[in-house]
């Protein structure tokens, strides 16, 4: 048993449901007790979906416990088949059904005799894998199933498209800024004159899956979900895949160079260097922005990074290589991906943290006291409590991380967005200076029970010069400086604040 208040990755069935409900016309049936269909709420609320979530439960109740599901699951599958006419029904086990050890595969076999739809049992073990691993596996399973089916029916076309083309594997619901990322990737492929063969699974129909082998290569933007499918397609059809996440200027360039390499291997001579150069220097603003004067203030600032392995690694790379910020430690909760994570950013930060214990992360943040945190919603809350600015860069996320406006994290526009996020997370440059000069953010003691300046220490007078000096200080820090100076004066038992006292105060506090 483990005492847990919060978890970074959800249970396995959520992963399966995310994949199933991303496809068009695929219905998932959960073998689960009442109340486990919380996924429907998340999809409907976070993504504000207009359609009904194609997930229903075959409810496990007392009767099922006593007598087994018997006909119930089979009936539920054939009922959905008639009602919704899906192409595929995915029977999804949950933690409850894992321990009931009913022969779900048998139900699937029986149901698929009667149904028009194909029926699959998601091959995930609740106690061994988490949300991401399950999603990865389910996607592979569905792809495999339809490739084999097409093969059997002699419908598989493995001839490559005439024009260079790509499958983008990694578009799904409830993922971090995903639909914006996919739009950005489509734009990038269009710029490179590469045809997008298919994008799976979001919005794709299972019939499209047999076209996957026609692509020249596969692009897997996120490590967590899609790699298994890409590996399967490579093994089966020798389709090369790119698993470089095009997040940040440098990684986007290496992703594009990898594409160039693959195309050249296939005897299409392309040179994307000019494109990369123009995009980096002129189209995207982030490279110039990080060289502009304002960003000098960020040099050597301490940051920490935590999230899923894709976003945490990419963010660490951007912070250190593109912005000159030092990452004290970077970490991920994708424990199963430890070696990759260490290999990618081992020399870019002082320390690597691999854990899914949010308490440990909280303590580590408190110990390091970074100037900024880039993490998940959990770190944002830790940051709030510690009064440290925080940018959210990875799931788990809240509804505000499903913005309506265009906010990709990938590609050149993504680089712009990230630059804004980084810059805005830090205390702004000029404000930072002023705070440094006049004693920092933290008001250590308040002199009187009220916070408003006017009611404070009535005996202390400001002389004319001091007062006019005070007026020159920008409004948002003036009150604090006034308080700090007055506290200083009170401590020294001074009745009047002169310019000298002001400067003394400044010195004493800084």
């Amino acid at each position: 048993m483990k005492l847990a208040y919060w978890m970074y990755a959800g249970p396995a069935h959520i992963g399966t449901l995310r994949i199933a409900s991303s496809f068009k016309n695929v219905h998932a049936i959960m073998h689960a007790p009442l109340g486990d269909d919380y996924f429907n709420v998340m999809r409907s609320m976070l993504e504000r979906k207009r359609d009904f979530t194609p997930v229903t439960a075959s409810v496990v109740d007392r009767h099922v416990l006593a007598r087994g599901s018997q006909e119930k699951v089979v009936n539920n599958i054939s009922r959905k088949d008639k009602e919704e006419k899906p192409d595929l029904v995915v029977l999804t086990p949950t933690c409850t059904s894992s321990i009931l050890q009913e022969d779900l595969q048998n139900f699937v076999n029986r149901a698929s005799i009667e149904t028009q739809a194909d029926v699959l049992l998601a091959d995930v073990n609740h106690y061994r894998v988490n949300e991401m691993q399950a999603a990865d596996r389910t996607l592979e399973q569905i792809v495999q199933f339809y490739i084999k089916k097409a093969q059997k029916n002699n419908e598989l076309d493995i001839n490559k498209t005439t024009q260079p083309s790509v499958n983008i594997i990694g578009s799904f619901n409830l993922a971090f800024h995903n639909q914006h990322d996919i739009a950005e990737l489509k734009r990038l492929m269009c710029d490179l004159n590469i045809k997008v063969n298919t994008i799976i699974p979001e919005g794709a129909s299972v019939q499209q899956l047999k076209d996957l082998p026609k692509a020249w290569f596969n692009l897997v933007p996120y490590r967590e979900i899609g790699l298994l499918t890409a590996k399967y397609l490579k093994e089966k059809f020798q389709i090369p895949f790119i698993d470089i996440t095009p997040m940040g200027i440098i990684e986007t360039a290496s992703c594009i160079r990898k594409i160039q390499y693959i195309l050249n291997e296939n005897k299409v001579n392309v040179n994307f260097e000019k494109y990369i150069d123009i995009q980096t220097r002129f189209v995207s603003q982030s490279a110039w922005f990080s060289r502009s004067i304002d960003c000098q203030n960020l040099t050597g600032k301490k940051a920490i990074v935590f999230g899923d392995s894709t976003h945490a690694a990419a963010m660490t790379k951007i912070l250190t290589r593109e912005m000159g910020i030092s990452v004290v430690w970077a970490g991920t909760y994708c424990k199963y991906d430890k070696s990759w994570f260490e290999k990618e950013i081992g020399d870019l930060c002082d320390e690597i943290v691999i854990t899914d214990d949010h308490n440990l992360i909280g303590d580590l943040i408190a110990k390091v006291e970074p100037a900024v945190i880039f993490g998940t919603q959990m770190e944002r809350h830790v940051a709030k409590r510690l009064n440290i600015p925080c940018g959210v860069i990875s799931a788990p996320v809240h509804i505000q991380n499903f913005p309506l406006s265009y906010r990709p994290f990938l590609g050149y526009e993504g680089a712009n967005q990230i630059a804004d996020l980084i810059y805005n997370s830090f205390t702004l440059g000029m404000e930072d200076h002023l705070l440094e000069i006049f004693g920092g953010h933290d008001t250590k003691e308040v002199l009187s029970p009220t916070l408003s300046v006017n009611n404070m220490s009535s005996e202390i007078k400001w002389n004319f010069e001091a007062q006019s000096e005070l007026k020159k200080i920008p409004g948002f820090v003036r009150g604090k400086i006034k308080r700090n100076t007055e506290k200083f004066a009170e401590k020294k038992q001074l009745k009047t604040i002169t310019l000298e006292v002001m400067y003394e105060a400044k010195e004493a506090i800084s």
Partner: protein, 451 residues
């Protein structure tokens, strides 16, 4: 009986119709009760013994609350726990000692889940031993999705609490005794149901106006303030889903239950107060005037909903009481949901519903036990109600199809009991209507993109 038959049914002498469907509906898992109970019982700690699925649900359903250092946690079962390689007793002891050290609660609630049911973890057996060993009360409630839905979680917790005799006289009650001259002599009355403290005070004052003294509330603000419950005491529920608690109080504690409609809406509140008065042989004073006054104050809201229709997809078991109130307020109720287990406990409420239908000369709603959401959506398409009260899984898709919805969970968390809060219910019910009135100029009501 088909829907149209029911709608056209003008024979008001007919009994309420109960229908039973497949039970394939969306609701919250009953472990969600920790969300409001840990806040209600201030010195408690709730340990939910379950899997990642339970944890994920709590984390997402309770949103922001999770970050406010909640006094609840998961005891997350791992593979070793399931296959009994680990000793349940030792594992729970380790976690409870950690909770005791870090949070120092006065009581730990163990919330059993589907998994502990299936692997037959003997929580009730372990608790007394561990309680003695760590000298901290442990109360076991099986709030699992195999047996219960949403608010019934509270029922399992309160039923477990009702079995714990409190022998210490709490300070709170001693102080109260001083003003005994405000009250008429009657047998002790204990109210059960978790409601926010302001509402507790409001209802207590309403009873005080009738000269009735509330000897205690189950649950109380603190574990140590639990009421003393003796044989022959009167008990009365304030929430419609507390049938197990009622049964426990009746059978185990030998209390006499006052079966009344629930104090939701001014009509319900008045009926509730009157029933208590009747049982305690007290002549109620001024309740009719009080009720009318509340109705008059709500005039603006009522004019918005008068003659409009409402459809309860059902998930929190407040449906019967809310429907009865909305009927009285002039709405037409197409369908509502009901749990057969609590038929007896809700007897008085059902009677009042019937009476209200007759007085308002409206057809009885269809009452569905174990609804099927798919069929319900079908019926909603046919009936086109003015308002559907439903869970979040269906709210956005229905809105996209031009159907006004109100998210049902809000009724669980809002203050809806008593005369004072009746207006809150109408505030919630009319919100979608008011919002959509304002937005009408934008154009099409239906925003469905596909399917």
């Amino acid at each position: 009986m088909t829907i149209t038959q029911v709608i056209n049914n003008v024979n008001l002498k007919e009994k309420l119709n109960f229908d039973c469907e497949t039970g394939n509906y969306h609701t919250f898992c009953p472990i969600s009760c920790v969300a409001w109970l840990y806040q209600k019982i201030e010195d408690s700690f709730f340990l939910v013994i379950g899997t990642k699925t339970c944890g994920y649900f709590l984390q997402n359903a309770l949103g922001v609350m999770i970050f406010a250092e909640p006094r609840y946690a998961m005891a997350e079962l791992e593979e070793g726990d399931i296959s009994a390689q680990l000793n349940d007793y030792e594992e729970l002891k380790r976690l409870c000692l950690q909770i005791k050290r870090d949070r120092n609660p006065s009581v730990i609630f163990w919330i059993g889940t589907c998994t502990t049911e299936i692997i037959k973890m003997d929580l009730e057996g372990i608790a007394p031993k561990l309680e003695a060993e760590i000298s901290l009360p442990i109360i076991v409630a099986r709030a699992n999705g195999l047996d219960y839905a949403f608010t019934q979680g509270e029922d399992t917790v309160l039923a477990a609490l009702a079995q714990r005799p409190n022998l210490k006289q709490s300070d709170y009650l001693q102080k109260e005794k001083i003003n005994n001259h405000d009250y008429i002599e009657h047998l002790p009355l204990i109210l059960f149901g978790s409601i926010p403290d302001p509402v507790v005070n409001q209802l207590t004052i309403e009873l005080k106006k009738q000269g009735i003294r509330v000897s205690g509330w189950l649950p109380s603000k603190r574990y140590n303030e639990l009421p003393q419950i003796y044989e022959g005491n009167y008990v009365c529920g304030v929430n419609p889903y507390l049938s197990r608690t009622a049964t426990t109080l009746m059978r185990r504690r030998k209390c006499k239950i006052i079966g009344a409609p629930f104090p939701i809406g001014p009509d319900g509140t008045r009926a509730w107060l009157e029933k208590i008065c009747t049982i305690l042989k007290i002549q109620p004073i001024g309740l009719k005037e009080r009720e009318n006054e509340v109705w008059n104050n709500m005039f603006n809201y009522i004019s918005l909903i008068n003659g409009k229709s409402v459809f309860f997809m059902g998930d929190n078991l407040l449906e019967i009481s809310l429907a009865r109130f909305l009927l009285r307020a002039g709405m037409i109720v197409f369908e509502l949901v009901f749990h057969i287990w609590i038929k007896r406990y809700q007897g008085a409420e059902l009677e009042l519903l019937q009476k209200t239908c007759k007085e308002k000369k409206v057809p009885f709603p269809i009452i569905i036990e174990k609804p099927d959401n798919y069929n319900q959506v079908d019926r909603i398409r046919d009936m086109k109600p003015d308002l559907v009260i439903t869970g979040m899984a269906h709210a956005n898709p229905l809105e996209a199809r031009g159907i006004n919805t109100k998210w049902s969970v809000e009724f669980t968390f809002a203050q809806i009991h008593g005369f004072t809060n009746a207006i809150e219910i109408l505030e919630l019910v009319t919100r979608p209507l008011r919002r959509n009135q304002k937005l009408q100029k934008i154009g099409s009501q239906q925003y469905t993109d596909r399917r």
